[in-house]
Point group: C2
Chain length 110, copies 2
C-alpha cells in the first residue's frame, strides 16, 4: 500500500469520519489506520473480499469529495504551517504560546 495514499486517507478520515456510515467507518479504519488486509476485514465481517474492496473504494471517493467541497484538511495544513512559523519566531512569548496551543487543539480532533 502506498504510504502517501495511506496518510492522506487517514487524514481525511480524521476530518470526515462523522459523515460516514458505521460500515464505511469500520472498513476504512481497519484497512488504512489498522493495516488489516482486505481478506482479514472480509473474514471479520463475514462478507466477500470484493464487497470490502468495493466499499473501501467508494468510501475513498466520498472522503475526497467532502475534501473537494469543504477543504478542511488542506485548510488545516496551511493554518498549521503558519502556526509553526509564528511559534518559531515568538518562542518564549507566553501570550502567543498559550493561544497557539488552543488554536492547534481545535484542529487536532481525536
Amino acid at each position: 500500500m502506498e504510504i502517501e495514499k495511506t496518510n492522506r486517507m487517514n487524514a481525511l478520515f480524521e476530518f470526515y469520519a462523522a459523515l460516514l456510515t458505521d460500515k464505511q467507518m469500520n472498513y476504512i479504519e481497519l484497512y488504512y489506520a489498522d493495516d488489516y488486509s482486505l481478506a482479514e476485514i472480509a473474514e471479520e465481517f463475514s462478507v466477500s473480499r470484493q464487497a470490502v474492496y468495493d466499499n473501501i473504494k467508494r468510501t475513498e471517493k466520498i472522503l475526497e469529495d467532502y475534501e473537494m467541497k469543504l477543504h478542511m484538511y488542506s485548510d488545516y495544513i496551511v493554518r498549521n504551517e503558519i502556526f509553526e512559523e509564528i511559534a518559531e519566531r515568538y518562542k518564549g512569548d507566553s501570550f502567543l504560546e498559550e493561544r497557539l496551543e488552543i488554536l492547534t487543539s481545535i484542529d487536532n480532533r481525536e
Copy 2:
C-alpha cells in the same frame, strides 16, 4: 423572522452550502440571505408554499446536523476571537499582521 436564527442559518450556509442540492441551496439562500417570503419563492419555482416550507425546514436540520458533526462554524468563531486578540495586542507587528491576514482569509469563504 428572528434575526438570530437568520444569522446562524446564513453562517451555516456559508460553510456547508457545497453539500446541499441545488434546490436546497436556492430555497434557503432566497429565504435567509435574500429575505424572500415563502410565497415569493413558491411563485418563483412554481411550487406550493408548503413544499418550499418543508424543504427549508429539512435543509435547516441538514445544516445543523453537519455543524454538529463537523463544527466548522463554532471552530471558526473560537479561532476568530483568538486572531482578534492577537491582532489587538501586536498592532503594528507586520510579521504577525501578514499571517493573521492569511489565516483570516482561509475561513472567509465566499
